[in-house]
């Protein structure tokens, strides 16, 4: 996802000289090409995230689209008030880009596990939150984000992630969810890079004769409520998956709508259950440990159908 993002950004920067990228002293390898081609439009703000986001808000007032790039929680939690007050409230054309949503930097420990960012960003009024599930979705939403005025949040995974979509996502329209696999027994709604696990779970369920639909939500906010309402009408059981706390994020958004719609469809949220990570490991290890890998999702779905 990271590399797909950098590719699209480079294309857009070539077309539009008012696009500026600010990095918080990170992304050396990924941004090298952009730095080589547009040295005047790549600014290193140093390890100073509050200053970085305030700077971006001010720079945006001069008619620029400003992307702010850092990893994990750094561009989100540290400068949260600058995002809320200086960017979103002022309708600044600033894009907050987080590389490493979820357990991407699994071995580095709790500080580097971005597991509340979606809840926090989603709670800010008027904030737009993109949560692509694979490199193809990343390409589609990055173009959309750069062209869309206002403050946005983009939650990426890492480099070299597996592709879920076979080719590019063509004709994607904001903020539509994307159905990757049809099914009739249960729907698995996925948000972000955990999409690979949702697909794996559907495969495992199929082996047991359970037909699971998989829907990816490359935009967390605004939520594609039309699609969610259809799913709430057409299924009796829905599972949401996110590499993130289950409090306030994607699962919560779906549950809010489910409660309001009252279709009788039950929703189970899969994610971190109000806990910090206390062990480290690679991304897949942590997904397994915290019950959100393909097998765990499949097991929970099967049990849920029996409830």
């Amino acid at each position: 996802m990271r590399d797909a993002f950098a590719r699209v950004l480079e294309e857009e920067m070539e077309q539009n000289e008012r696009i500026v990228l600010i990095t918080g002293d990170l992304g050396f390898g990924v941004l090298r090409q952009i730095h080589r081609r547009f040295p005047d439009r790549l600014i290193n703000a140093g390890i100073a995230e509050q200053g970085m986001v305030g700077l971006a808000a001010g720079l945006a007032t001069t008619g620029r689209t400003v992307l702010v790039y850092s990893i994990g929680n750094f561009p989100v939690l540290r400068p949260l008030e600058q995002i809320r007050n200086d960017c979103v409230y002022h309708k600044a054309d600033v894009k907050i880009v987080c590389v490493g949503g979820g357990f991407v930097y699994g071995s580095l420990g709790m500080s580097h596990h971005a597991t509340e960012d979606m809840s926090v960003m989603r709670a800010i009024p008027e904030m737009i939150c993109y949560t692509p599930g694979d490199p193809a979705e990343t390409e589609a939403v990055t173009h959309d984000m750069i062209w869309r005025k206002g403050t946005c949040y983009l939650r990426l995974g890492r480099g070299n992630e597996p592709k879920v979509h076979e080719g590019p996502v063509k004709g994607w329209t904001f903020p539509k969810a994307i159905t990757l696999r049809g099914g009739k027994d249960i729907a698995i709604l996925s948000c972000g890079g955990i999409l690979t696990q949702a697909m794996d779970a559907a495969e495992r369920l199929a082996e047991k004769g359970i037909s699971a639909q998989v829907v990816s939500f490359p935009c967390l906010k605004p939520l594609d409520t039309d699609t969610v309402k259809d799913l709430l009408t057409n299924f009796r059981r829905i599972i949401t998956v996110e590499e993130h706390t289950i409090i306030g994020g994607f699962g919560s958004a779906v549950c809010e709508l489910a409660a309001e719609e009252g279709t009788g469809c039950r929703v189970k949220r899969i994610g971190l259950n109000d806990c910090f990570t206390t062990v480290v490991g690679d991304r897949q290890y942590l997904r397994e440990t915290y019950g959100m890998d393909g097998k765990a999702i499949a097991d929970k779905a099967e049990a849920f159908l029996d409830e």
């Binding site: 500026v20 005047d40 600014i43 703000a45 140093g46 100073a48 509050q50 200053g51 970085m52 986001v53 305030g54 700077l55 971006a56 808000a57 001010g58 720079l59 945006a60 007032t61 001069t62 008619g63 620029r64 008030e81 600058q82 007050n85 200086d86 409230y89 002022h90």
Partner: protein, 290 residues
């Protein structure tokens, strides 16, 4: 009933000369007192300390036009110490950005004139502030954008001294120096008092001027109530364009300046002027009318 404007302008023969910094500073004090009195609001001490700084900026320094508040080549001003917002509202109204009469809605239900300065619907305000430590970063971003465009306009940021407790101020100070933003001018309302105690008793800033110099800024200290000294300092800061360094003016001020019982009295950070205290304050202001 007498209008708000007639009340605050009473005693002047004809229209007050708002291009005279001393007159505008007095009007900021008069409006500040009236606005905090009517609204039972706070922060009168800060409004009184920052009065000459804001007055000199709007009367003589800023290239701004009330008829065209968004003209592209205007200078930008950010009041980073947003709690002194009534000083900026007063200066904007008195110089024609919006009706003076509107000042009486400050703090009121449904008003757009919030206690901390707001840009929403208020002509002439660039940035809403209120949480301290934001303005210098945003100002640095504006100055950086101007520099990238080769534009000639300047960015002014007015900070409080207590605000400089915030780490984000020093992040911005490093960044502004790094990007050589020599059209960025910061002014610190250095009244030496915070909300609970003096600066020295809270988090000591001295040697303050040297700190800014060590961070790579041009720095100068002046009497922040001497309008001529302030004008000279702004000229100095403007001439620093080309120095490849941002500039800061440490304006030494007195919290509560102009009303004896409010001067250097911590009580008046939050206390609202009512009853006999309001009457006494008004009398003292009348005595120093320019």
């Amino acid at each position: 009933m007498e209008s708000y404007e007639a009340l605050v302008h009473s005693g002047f023969e004809g229209e007050p000369d708002v291009r005279d910094p001393k007159t505008l500073a007095w009007l900021i004090r008069r409006n500040g007192l009236e606005m905090t009195h009517l609204s039972r609001g706070s922060h009168i001490g800060s409004v009184l300390s920052v009065a000459e700084i804001i007055a000199v900026l709007y009367a003589r320094v800023l290239n701004v036009d009330p008829k065209e508040p968004k003209k592209p080549d205007r200078d930008r001003l950010i009041l980073s110490k947003g709690h002194a917002g009534s000083a900026v509202y007063a200066a904007l109204a008195e110089t024609g950005f919006f009706p003076v009469e509107q000042l009486k809605t400050h703090y009121a239900n449904g008003s757009i004139l919030s206690g901390h300065v707001s840009h929403k619907g208020v002509p002439g305000v660039e940035v809403s502030t209120g949480s301290l430590g934001h303005g210098l970063s945003v100002g640095a971003g504006m100055a950086l954008g101007a520099k990238m465009d080769g534009a000639q306009w300047r960015t002014y940021v007015v900070l409080g001294d207590g605000e400089c407790d915030e780490g984000s101020v020093w992040e911005a100070a490093l960044q502004a120096a790094q990007y050589k933003l020599d059209r960025l001018i910061a002014v610190i309302d250095y009244n030496h008092m915070q909300s609970l105690a003096t600066v020295d008793e809270t988090l000591r800033l001295e040697p303050f001027e040297q700190k800014w110099k060590d961070f790579g800024w041009n720095a100068v200290s002046v009497d922040g109530h001497d309008t001529d000294a302030l004008l000279k300092a702004f000229d100095w800061a403007k001439e620093n364009a080309g120095s490849r360094k941002p500039s800061v003016i440490l304006a030494h001020t007195v919290k509560g300046k102009g009303i004896s019982f409010m001067e250097n009295n911590i009580l008046w950070h939050y206390r609202t002027p009512q009853g006999e205290e309001y009457d006494a304050a008004l009398k003292e202001l009348e005595a120093i009318r320019p």
